[in-house]
Symmetry: C2
Subunit: 328 residues, 2 copies
């Protein structure tokens, strides 16, 4: 890294994103749990982005980016590729801004996820996930139709938008000593680290990956981006094979550490969230909490923020994941 | 009703309870949902008492009452009878105040509920629900051991405590035109109506009962308390056979209306809460939302508050109730 280059995303960018999101994104609640505090011996602050619009933090980055398009660009429309929360986020952001969206999704995407996207008024273009390259298809579609493509994480405005969740958390909870943040493509982690280290340099930012999806951990160890086999994990939002170029450059500079959690630890965290916190958290959304419950933060500093990043898991999938082992 | 008598519980009592609860009870978040607003054509404000300590509003009334006991009474201990959320609420209130609690519970209470009570350090005394009278057993136990008995709803301090949820909701959301509140024994409804009509006389307060547990609706129609057969409903927190004497006297004066919801409508509301709001709501806690979704408030005024009263449903029971009909 050339230390002479200024950062691509700064705290000011995150603050600017927050101003754009005000009144459109939810200012999501921060939950406290005495049980969790007692278990960890610390003061834990859970930023509930599962309660965000579209059920995930992704709306922040998508809307921040879309809101900066020109009137002409908005009139032509927006494109995105995603089978997950980014798809809904872009669809809703486009609708909020009076634009239209075309989302490239694998043909075998669950109907419920497709319905959520079309429910926000977006068009879906499908492709075969085994033979198609979603990035190439998305870029070709955008070029053909003159659409503005919003990538899921490789964009400064997306990263700045994702950072607004942590910025809000600090406003709501006061200074915190450490943050646990899920790492998939790396946009949420990069935005979080940019925001909270911009506010206070000494704060610790710990990324969390599923064991099978440890591409960022391995890349940090190698000192450059490496690719892993397609991860097999229940944390579908973190099944990246390699970190983003831009997000990795930020995370390499700002993350203190990346820790791993197993699928069983993620299930236990989802169950804890349901039973004790009374909130619905999807597997990827639960990895920060899983790391905390599994003792990956050792020692646990006095005041910890955890980004609960999403809640999009339907009742059938939820039951498959943790329903059978329920208490009597 | 003798109109010359002053009310047993007033807005000032609710305000006083709120001051006692500050810093001990959670100031629970108020959730908004654009989907819900669009479905109803109104602005809906959900007061999430499922996110309260012990997972239900019951902690408010129990703590408010227990906090008024003398040091001598606290040293001797507290008693309660309940198989539900009031049991945990009294157990926790006692612990918070450095006292002890003895809870009278049916011998066939699910282990998980007993474990929650003993987890807060309380002692459990069991009885046979088919042959025993829990009120008589509780009173005898309290007399024998010199314990202060905290009833689940028939007490002014309990009612005032329950009213603090609605008081907070108005502080958080501003003036509302109508409130939907679940009615079981009637303490939450009485406290809510006392608080919000004390603040503004013209506000509409609508109680919600499960169809099979319509004792308050029938009692209001009859002009006096009537008893019904033991209700068969999934809303176990609202399976009262007859309203409380004190709570009914308040609800008769202050409730504008009571509406009914079916068990299927309650299930639909629990599913909506899981899928769209990402929160866990127990059957009784979902009846206000169920009434809204089922169109029982007609017309829906511009700004509506709904008390989501509790979230204590374990994953197995949740799956039994709504897991099978999940979307693919």
């Amino acid at each position: 890294m050339d230390r002479a280059l200024p950062p691509v995303v700064t705290l000011e960018d995150v603050r600017d994103a927050a101003a754009r999101l005000a009144g459109t994104a939810h200012r999501t609640p921060v939950l406290r749990s005495r049980t969790l505090d007692a278990l960890t011996g610390a003061s834990i602050h859970l930023k509930c982005e599962n309660l965000q619009r579209v059920g995930a933090f992704k709306f922040r980055g998508a809307y921040n980016t879309a809101s900066r398009l020109t009137a002409e660009q908005l009139a032509r429309g927006i494109a995105a590729y995603s089978s997950g929360n980014h798809a809904q986020a872009v669809a809703l952001a486009a609708r909020e801004l009076g634009s239209t969206a075309v989302i490239v999704m694998p043909a075998d995407t669950p109907r419920s996820k497709m319905a959520a996207v079309t429910g926000y008024g977006a068009e879906i273009v499908t492709y075969d996930r085994y033979t198609g390259d979603r990035v190439a298809i998305g870029q070709a579609l955008a070029a053909d139709r003159g659409l503005a493509l919003i990538p899921p994480y490789e964009h400064p405005h997306v990263i700045a938008g994702q950072g607004t969740a942590a910025l809000e958390l600090v406003e709501q909870a006061g200074d915190l000593d450490a943050f646990l943040v899920p790492v998939g493509g790396g946009g949420l982690a990069a935005g979080t680290a940019t925001a909270v280290k911009g506010l206070r340099a000494g704060v610790r930012v710990v990324g969390v990956e599923p064991q099978a999806g440890d591409d960022t951990l391995r890349s940090l160890a190698a000192g450059h981006r490496v690719s892993i086999a397609v991860p097999r994990t229940i944390a579908d939002g973190q099944a990246a094979e390699t970190p983003g170029e831009l997000t990795f450059s930020i995370n390499q500079r700002l993350l203190d550490e990346v820790v791993l959690v197993s699928d069983d630890e993620i299930r236990a965290a989802m169950r804890f969230a349901f039973d004790r916190l009374k909130i619905v958290v999807e597997p990827s959304g639960a990895t920060g909490l899983a790391a905390l419950l599994a003792g990956r933060l050792d020692p646990v500093p006095a005041r910890v923020g955890v980004i609960i990043s999403g809640g999009n898991v339907d009742t059938r999938r939820f039951t498959e994941l943790i329903g059978d082992a329920g208490p009597g």
